[in-house]
């Protein structure tokens, strides 16, 4: 960024420069503190926590606490809850990408009767969160016998058009010459879709996958409603279920180990795919 270096005179030097770093470091510490504390709590013993103040540096119970959580948990083994979350997040991300790619392709590359109607029916669902239609959606899912099932966790959250909207916008930017050439060559529409459109959409698909995976993983209200069987709980909603009702003291080390496990997969996805993630975020929201 040579251009920015040349304009260095606007950037503060000396004392101001260090204040900038100081401000940012304080900000980072504030943002980090809750996660750090959870991590520390997941490595110490229960007595160390229930006699405050708890230590602020990790203890030696890391393996014990995480093993306890993963193998037995409180209501259900956390390993099972991780699996449930993984299936749900993957199902939502892949399912939504698949149906959106197909419908966006149909809307952009075909003219057929009723196209406008379909278009509006799909786009009416933009932005409307599952939270506002929970009772009737619950009844539908219960009617299909999909309570405590993966399909019950996944399908209602696929029913929205954000991804379709995104792919539509991307397809509009694909040069017409490509479709023209495919048509002249006598290629069938699906051939064009597989051989040209899909490879071109790779980055968009990956970026969207990151966003949707995190969206699916972090769902709370919906799994809370439809998974009454602890072995079907997702990890994010299962944490709250680990708190005892009444006055019993919560098993903090195990609960905090579970919290760390619950945030690890989305954090890994975000950090490792940072560039794609930021791009996907800015694209999908703007």
């Amino acid at each position: 960024m040579a251009g920015r270096e040349q304009h260095g005179m606007v950037q503060k030097r000396g004392v101001g420069h260090w204040f900038t770093h100081l401000g940012l470091i304080i900000g980072v510490l504030i943002i980090f503190f809750p996660i750090w504390l959870a991590f520390v709590a997941s490595t110490v013993t229960q007595p160390e926590i229930v006699h405050p103040p708890m230590p602020l540096w990790p203890g030696d119970q890391f393996f014990n606490n995480y093993r306890d959580a993963l193998v037995s948990g409180v209501n259900a083994p956390v390993a099972k809850m991780l699996l449930n979350s993984f299936v749900m997040a993957m199902g939502i991300a892949l399912g939504k990408i698949l149906i959106s790619l197909l419908s966006a392709f149909a809307i952009v590359y075909f003219r057929f009767p009723g196209r406008k109607v379909f278009f509006w029916l799909i786009f009416l669902t933009l932005m409307l969160p599952v939270e506002v239609r929970i009772v009737p959606t619950y009844e539908v899912v219960a009617g299909f016998g999909m309570l405590n099932s993966y399909s019950g966790l996944i399908f209602p959250l696929i029913a929205s058009a954000t991804a379709t909207f995104l792919f539509r916008q991307f397809f509009m930017t694909v040069p017409d010459e490509l479709a023209e050439a495919a048509r002249v060559d006598g290629a069938r529409p699906m051939r064009f879709f597989w051989d040209i459109l899909l490879p071109m959409s790779r980055t968009n698909i990956a970026a969207l996958f990151v966003i949707l995976f995190i969206y699916g993983w972090n769902q709370y209200l919906w799994p809370l409603l439809i998974t009454t069987d602890p072995s079907m709980n997702t990890i994010v909603m299962g944490i709250k279920q680990m708190f005892p009702s009444g006055d019993d003291i919560a098993d903090w080390p195990v609960i905090m180990a579970t919290s760390i496990l619950a945030m690890l997969p989305p954090i890994i996805v975000v950090i490792s795919m940072q560039k794609l993630f930021i791009r996907g975020l800015v694209d999908s929201e703007k």
Binding site: G23, F112, T125, D176
Partner: protein, 293 residues
Amino acid sequence: MEKRVTFKGWLLPICLLLPQVIVTAVFFFYPAGQAVWQSLFIPDPFGLKSQFVGLGNFEFLLGDPYYRAAFTTTAVFSILVTVASLGMALFLAVLADRLIKGSGVYRTLLIWPYAVAPAVAGVLWLFMFNTRVGVVSWYLGILGYDWNHVLNEAEAMGLVVAASSWGRVSYNFLFFLAGLQAIPKSVIEAAAIDGARFWTRFRTIVFPLLSPTTFFLLVVNIVYAFFETFGVIHTITSGGPQQATTILVYKVFADGFVGQDLGSSAAQSVILLVVVGLLTVIQFKFIERRVHY
């Protein structure tokens, strides 16, 4: 915008649309329609039949002091969350933008909480401020402040606002930083040559040029505070004490699933539908027109 080059046929595109149309119809339009329909009835206690009451559920809700209180709570809560998370994010983004090198490192460090689910954020903050074992509440006690969000309404609100804003800072930071870096440095340079100090430059040039980003984030954060913070409320306060943190979405859940008052819950859903609809329209209309230069 329309494509000039298209393929022929109508059966194939209909088949391609079918999966999305079916999922949307079954899990979106039918339930949404049901919500509207149910909102016009009051079911009897056994759920055997319901009585048509027209707009009775709505009339009752609008006159219900608890519902009106939930509206006020939601407004206060959303404003606090939006202001807190936008303020903190803008502050950090302005600092990071001043750096010639290293803003990428801070971005990586600040991006983490975005990945943390609101419900998990709720558990982390609950742990810090827990009245029995919380570290922060313990040190506050040493300082002579008796923290108890279980009984104190203002403290409960403060805690859910903090936990809800926390994860949002990363998200807003990313957008603010992108917005700041898109401002041509020559404009700021010119002002600096004219002798404008940092604060003057920020107030008269940077902030106005940032307004599309700010406005966009305003709407998105309000939507977030309205709907996605359910997990925070449910884990930390369950709407208490004395419904001090019962926001509208929480009330739909509490009345519909805990209280089994389906007619009222459906009517509340419909009101929320209207609110989201309005916010969507505002987002699409205004972002495209008003805040452009």
